[in-house]
Symmetry: C2
Subunit: 426 residues, 2 copies
């Protein structure tokens, strides 16, 4: 195998015929495979079955005297706050515990900014026009969609190997209409990058023009290593406070990829002043999130050490899947010099950069051959990747055998799309 | 005992001395009793312990092939939709299943109206000024606070023994700034009234000027009889549709007072068109509510017949508590002709109308003697009862012995406040 760019037109045509035939054959199998979303596989769900019976008797349902079955405790039970605080390195009093899905908490911060205003808002965002939000891209489509749905203008900030391009962030934040930024700082979605200390320090020291700039710090993969040891990560709340930005940051986490994605608990962590502001707003909306499930998680997960032990068991299941993806790319694509990709050690994705102009075509080819991928462009604001290059590979749901079959098709599609682009038009 | 109004000034003074002495004695006991909120008691929570172990094995976690532990099924699992549909007499396709607390779903309808608009909104409510909302009162303080927190003007509609005063509702709804109405149609909070068929028909046939008038139909006590048989109740979605108002009504219910208030499931039911509109909006906010808890409830509650059986067990615990309240009032207060009250057969409250001008005083006297009541005025918009008369008694949480002690103090406070009002000023 040689780099495609070095091939003659005739050799390219020959290769195209070969790959097209292989693709047709693969397509004929009529497979139905899914590498589209970061869903844990069944084996991972079965790992945590003990959660189901962690509370089985009324006597189990007390958290330091609080009967978790009844009403009350708006911001969460003490032991669940303590568990999340330990995981994130923050104070329990900074934690508000939610229900399943931290996405809902993120949505709520933006929604409340619009309807009631954040702590330092001069007026609710709905009374201000022309608002903008910073979106490091490639990034998480669901983040971008929240701010898009509220009518904000999304501003793409390029991702670097160290995190968002900070010159661009600092320049953009000087505009008072820029109201915040989405970040997945550890094992970023989809790149799997850990923001560097220098980048984190610059973010914490940001001097945004907007007094109510919201740094949406989605620490979704805070303990989600699948290769190597747990990587400690700084407490962004303290860092921001050090730089006089205590109320700028809203941190989020959940157990979605620790226990059950369909029945986990979530949290947001913020300064005491922000927490007091949100508690007041939440008191109108909620009596409490599911406290039995909070205590169930506390009893089952116990503490950070025990969570990390569980994450190593997840890693044993995940590592071979990521290896299968990376091995396939290394063998089938690397020699052709038509794409680049990340080699993450944690998180849920492999970010793949195809030959510019071919990502949408690869998506379609995959789909037609029965392999569902995250839509091309999804990792960019408005679903539009200007280079039409990035694709997010999510290898966690399929079985290893399905994954091998899916990656075989994916690699064929990457090659076919590149060849179509490289071949001189008839 | 004779009616206070018939007593001479001297007899009143004598009675005042007697009651004040009894109050001082009761106060000296230093009790700490709570009749403030509609919280189930411990015995009720223990009734449903089987819920904790309804799903104990991975094999239990499938709902017709859906692995409820994983992501997906935004609007709820099919079996949970079917269960709520049967309880409410609506179609499963009209049901969206939420997490713990239907209050959050109600808040979300109002919040989405403000940020994105309802199906028939010309523009989001945040872009419209001077909006108003109808609040039948006495009513539920948490309802009123939602619309108040969004800056709407609350319009009090008097409650009658048949439900909201419909002449007032119809007149008010002719104002296009009036955007909706709060209703608890079965065992209304706090009056415990079931809206009459005639009232329900007039509500369903309402012709509001606002195209996006939201009838907030909180069927919180749909199966919550504590005396007598289950009382069937009409399907408001069908009734509204019959009158060309299919998209006007949003119905809510939850298992908060069926299973665990701290770990239940909730639902909203609406027209197919509204459900489609909300599903689109929810897809930005949520991946799903806790589906394991949805299936846990389905397996434990089974169907409506089984739910009604469980509610009869709740009733056995609740009936003596309500009887204790009503008996105390009958014995201690009725002969004095200083107050009126409802005699509900379901729901969670006894609505008490003290001598006008004395409710706040009774609240304070109770509090000083260690009995926490819902604050006087709470059942009215802005927490202001123009007659200073209504108090909400919540008898479900205390034990029967505590309740007897609390009612003894309450009745003393009612008498003392009345006597203070009736006595000629020195």
């Amino acid at each position: 195998m040689r780099a495609y760019r070095e091939l003659s037109a005739a050799a390219l045509a020959e290769e195209h015929a070969r790959v097209a035939a292989a693709y047709a054959k693969a397509k004929a199998k009529g497979l139905a495979l899914d590498m589209s979303r970061g869903k844990p596989g069944r084996e991972q769900l079965d790992l945590v079955s003990g959660l189901l019976t962690a509370l089985s008797d009324p006597a189990d349902c007390s958290d330091g005297g609080i009967d978790v079955r009844n009403y009350g405790n708006l911001t969460g039970i003490p032991s669940a706050k303590a568990l999340f605080a330990e995981l994130l390195g923050v104070q329990p009093s900074q934690v508000i515990v939610g229900g399943n899905a931290s996405l809902t908490l993120m949505y709520d911060v933006i929604s409340k900014a619009f309807t009631h205003g954040l702590l330092h808002s001069e007026k609710p965002w709905s009374k201000q026009g022309g608002l903008k939000f910073l979106c490091p891209a490639p990034g998480y489509d669901r983040h971008f969609r929240i701010t898009e749905s509220f009518g904000m203008t999304l501003i793409t900030v390029p991702m670097t190997p160290e995190g968002p391009a900070m010159d661009a962030v600092e320049a953009a934040a000087a505009d008072p209409a820029v109201k915040g930024m989405w970040c997945t700082p550890k094992y970023s979605n989809p790149d799997g990058i850990i923001y560097s200390d220098a980048t984190i320090a610059r973010i914490a020291a940001l001097k945004p023009a907007a007094p109510d700039f919201a740094l949406m710090w989605d620490n979704a993969y805070c303990v989600h290593e699948f290769a190597g040891d747990f990587v400690p990560f700084p407490d962004m709340l303290s860092l921001c406070a050090t730089h006089g930005n205590a109320d700028m940051v809203y941190e989020f986490a959940s157990t979605s990829k620790i226990t059950f994605p369909g029945a986990g608990i979530s949290c947001m962590a913020m300064s005491q002043a922000n927490a007091a502001h949100f508690e007041k707003l939440l008191s109108v909306q909620l009596i409490s999130a599911d406290k039995v499930n909070q205590l169930r998680h506390v009893r089952y997960l116990v503490d950070k050490a025990h969570v990390l032990e569980l994450m190593r068991a997840h890693a044993k299941i995940l590592a071979p899947k990521f290896a299968a993806v990376l091995d396939a790319l290394e063998t089938e694509i690397a020699p052709l010099d038509i794409a680049t990709w990340q080699r993450p050690k944690g998180g849920y994705f492999v970010s793949f950069n195809a030959m510019p102009g071919t990502a949408a075509r690869i998506y379609t080819l995959c789909k037609e051959a029965g392999v569902v991928m995250t839509e091309a462009g999804a990792t960019y604001p408005y679903g539009i990747d200007p280079a039409d290059s990035n694709l997010r590979i999510a290898p966690t749901l399929p079985s290893p055998a399905e994954l091998a079959a899916a990656m075989e098709i994916f690699c064929l599609c990457v090659r076919l799309a590149a060849l179509e682009a490289l071949l001189p038009r008839a």
